[in-house]
Symmetry: D2
Subunit: 325 residues, 4 copies
Amino acid sequence: MNEPVYDVAHLGRVELLTPDLDASLDFFVSVLGMDEVERVGDSVFLRAWGDYERASLRLTAAEQPGVGTIAWRTTSEPALERRVAALEAAGRGIGWEDGIAGIGRSYAFTDPDGLRMSIYYDSEYFAPSDGQTPTLKNQPQRIGVRGAAVRRIDHVNVWCRDIDRNADFMVDTLGFRVSEQAVDGDGRRTGAWLHVTPKSYDLAYGRVDPADLGARLHHVAYAVDAREYVLRAADVFLDAGVRIEAGPAKHAVQQTTFLYAFEPGGNRVEIITDGRLLLAPDWRPITWTPEERARGQAWGTLMPESWFTYATPPVAAGQQETEHA
Amino acid sequence: MNEPVYDVAHLGRVELLTPDLDASLDFFVSVLGMDEVERVGDSVFLRAWGDYERASLRLTAAEQPGVGTIAWRTTSEPALERRVAALEAAGRGIGWEDGIAGIGRSYAFTDPDGLRMSIYYDSEYFAPSDGQTPTLKNQPQRIGVRGAAVRRIDHVNVWCRDIDRNADFMVDTLGFRVSEQAVDGDGRRTGAWLHVTPKSYDLAYGRVDPADLGARLHHVAYAVDAREYVLRAADVFLDAGVRIEAGPAKHAVQQTTFLYAFEPGGNRVEIITDGRLLLAPDWRPITWTPEERARGQAWGTLMPESWFTYATPPVAAGQQETEHA
Amino acid sequence: MNEPVYDVAHLGRVELLTPDLDASLDFFVSVLGMDEVERVGDSVFLRAWGDYERASLRLTAAEQPGVGTIAWRTTSEPALERRVAALEAAGRGIGWEDGIAGIGRSYAFTDPDGLRMSIYYDSEYFAPSDGQTPTLKNQPQRIGVRGAAVRRIDHVNVWCRDIDRNADFMVDTLGFRVSEQAVDGDGRRTGAWLHVTPKSYDLAYGRVDPADLGARLHHVAYAVDAREYVLRAADVFLDAGVRIEAGPAKHAVQQTTFLYAFEPGGNRVEIITDGRLLLAPDWRPITWTPEERARGQAWGTLMPESWFTYATPPVAAGQQETEHA
Amino acid sequence: MNEPVYDVAHLGRVELLTPDLDASLDFFVSVLGMDEVERVGDSVFLRAWGDYERASLRLTAAEQPGVGTIAWRTTSEPALERRVAALEAAGRGIGWEDGIAGIGRSYAFTDPDGLRMSIYYDSEYFAPSDGQTPTLKNQPQRIGVRGAAVRRIDHVNVWCRDIDRNADFMVDTLGFRVSEQAVDGDGRRTGAWLHVTPKSYDLAYGRVDPADLGARLHHVAYAVDAREYVLRAADVFLDAGVRIEAGPAKHAVQQTTFLYAFEPGGNRVEIITDGRLLLAPDWRPITWTPEERARGQAWGTLMPESWFTYATPPVAAGQQETEHA
């Protein structure tokens, strides 16, 4: 058995593309309760009150919604160098880039589907200014009291064309570990949940893209402290006129409590909480058969069609295959 | 900067000594909601429903309450060997022992105060039998529905004579990281909270032992999923006649929500929940000054004298110094 | 304006008919966490830990599932006599009956659809025996720690043929007040929620019976203290193999948090919590139009077909009309 | 046995006197999350998001903190007239006054200690304007998302000189019912909790005033939906620099979950939640002996001296007796 690799520390920042930057910004600030920290060009950088880094979300104006670059922080500078070497050896490296908005130099790469990601180590901790200075010094800033008041970035879920290939790439080059996976009748994966932290997933290849495009975003997730706050987020969304897609309810896979909604730019956002930590260093991936997945969510919650068919950027009508579980 | 070491995965098992094994066992089973898994000699092994290993608690009959061996799981077999080498180099190794109740061979050692600990890698995952088989296969067993229904072991807090010396030992030989610490006017530590997981602490040297003995137990902690369940535990304790010492309330240090009570053998137990994960690989320890600690718990909760003066094994009257913050 | 009448105090007891008494009993005891208090003939009487009366549920063996007698406690003996007079004047009285299992003499009657109900004043408070004596004397017994541990009976929901007629009857003869109602395009009610306590409903005529039978049970509801406990009930149901029908989610009508499941006898049971009290003595009923109801539950939760079509006793296939919103 | 009287519906409005109107207003708006609805002279009227009437709090500039008029809504106009007659018969009536800020004509009176109260029936329901219109029409306005976001007024607690005399007065003239009471060794009451709704108390004579003044305010309480929100209020208070006095914790008397803090004018405010409803029309008051009360709060929470000695208006040093439990 190989030793586990601990070179990637956690998900650092997700870039969302939006055709309506102002409306998307208002959603993340007024409804999710995040704070704007910086603007650079067509991008606005935001943070949740519990994120220790300066910004965990980058909103970038674009013609279509979707995901831009997903950035991962490494555990050290040597770890960064080791992973860059592995990415170059895999032939998937793009190269070094200047960091932005609190992140230092970053090495960009793509997964086999072309999803753009980067790794970095150098990162600026958030320094609260006057109105944000918390009473307890072990907290990055005051607790959030606006809207759903999400605490921290949690994970990102994308669709790809070949889950085995993409998941193996993340495992082999970056040391991600598979916590749970779904397979079809031939044993090919139809979903893979990967983690680098003891949270049970930090990245999901959630589904084989029915449009056969790949590198499309299913959702970005922000965490709250308890299930009650997922319910409260739904109450907040209801009064704010946000389109709720599904939940609050509980996934069978990973057992997380979820709430899915759409931000005005068209991207799906998840509010999540999880009581489980996967502390085992030799966790054996849980494998879900088609029969087991057909039982649906933990409590049998009915999911709308869109949850199985819509990702960003969206595909034109007719372009998308309709098969789904 | 040195790279962080990820050789110790998590706290695996705590041994509690009890002068009333039957009563202690009844407390952990009926009130905390844990399950007995095995008996060997004078010891009974127990697990919480969310522990993935076979047993996280060992109750051992003894004349006095206190803590026996604290066992830590490593992230791999080579990691185990590296740490054993470091312990031997530090001159604190005791030697290899046969494992017990699901744990394989273990290497025993002491910290500078003589607190007995061990490290191991080989571990048996819990295999639920019929009445315990959960509906969701990603869960070790059915969710707990008895008493406080604690989910998993969380941490252990001990008092020692010299916190700098003991904390440094855990950092240097095993790769523990200090997340928070308290200091006196001379900069000497009066408390240190250390972690190997992204939980903000797995081990605490909570206080300089006023009796100058060291290696005494302040408490062992079990986690529940949300703050409501810490309150519910207090309700359960109330009706069960358990002696509550303090809480539910919120610590300033670490911000965890706590409830302290005494098991019938005389050891202090904590029920805890925490919404925070310390994901930063380069976390700079939070340092609390005497003035800051004098502000007390997060919400100003008054703590009883015993919380500052009682540890197990208890000391005879007159033997204990009385100074405390 | 007439003065409100405060002669009926609260829902006292619901009788459920079950074709599998043993399995139903096991569900209410092991899964819902209720206690058996007495057996009389083919009936078993049960209580939730927070019910102040001896028993709030009567399970009676029968060929078909369904509802037996629904009993309401009056606010005084004179109030009882006034309501009996009103029932007799309305021509719907059946007559006095001996009480049973803690309830004194009761006056039975039917609503216009033939739903059997009774009113009584004389009632025995629950007296806990040794293992049930709570530490706090203002509590009927120890808090529940088994299964979903429901606290108290909440309400009953039945289907009838003519909601205007039945709701008006309860208002006119017993002083029930309508808190919310749904209407069709002609202004005829398609649902009515009535209350005698500041809970926003104690009785619902939830739907015009599509089978045109009436006096059929949609569900009986038991309350828990907070939304987290509705979620926990779903977790308990999942591991206990209980068939969850819908939820946890939030109703638009009444805003209650719900979870629907089936007990083994075939009756639907709801676990509910509600943060709202209707304290206004002159509350003007909220009226929901067909367009408003078409928006569905508060968070848009999809409800399964059965929730709109199944009541007990069930109707044979083909007997039931299929129209529903 | 007399029939219960249901002429008083609920607590309608509490007037707080404050020497710092601006600071008090900012506390109730920014920290508790209430909304200002109207200003008249030296008074500002406020509401919680779940109050159905226009305003439940009146802040009035004054030299000293304390309580002004406590207003109760009756269940009907005839009920109002009956209670006015009873007050006049008792010789404690002051007379009719014009209503203000949504309340119609009111009849003022004092309790035997001189505490000023009023009763009224005519009341304006809150009509939300654009930004406050809720998505669900059965809710007075959008759910609160600012600060502690309290839901509705709950109760008021005052100290008086003779609890038997004052409590009897409220029972005899207005139909209040005693749910719980504390007595001294001679059977004289040392505390009385009274209710008109199925909440277990709406008014408390919490303590024999150690300063022998009476008509002093211990606290006014606002309710939240669940215990988690009492904890969250404490977190909000912590970051807002509010002085927390005690809690969150659980009272033995009434079992409510409490949090006490001081608003900038010097008055004590309680955040409360309660899972219990006293639905019994013939509830027998729970009586706590001195020995039982000496056991303290439900979980043994230590209460600071001020909680037993401070009420508003405060008394000069030396003026106050120091005896307390």
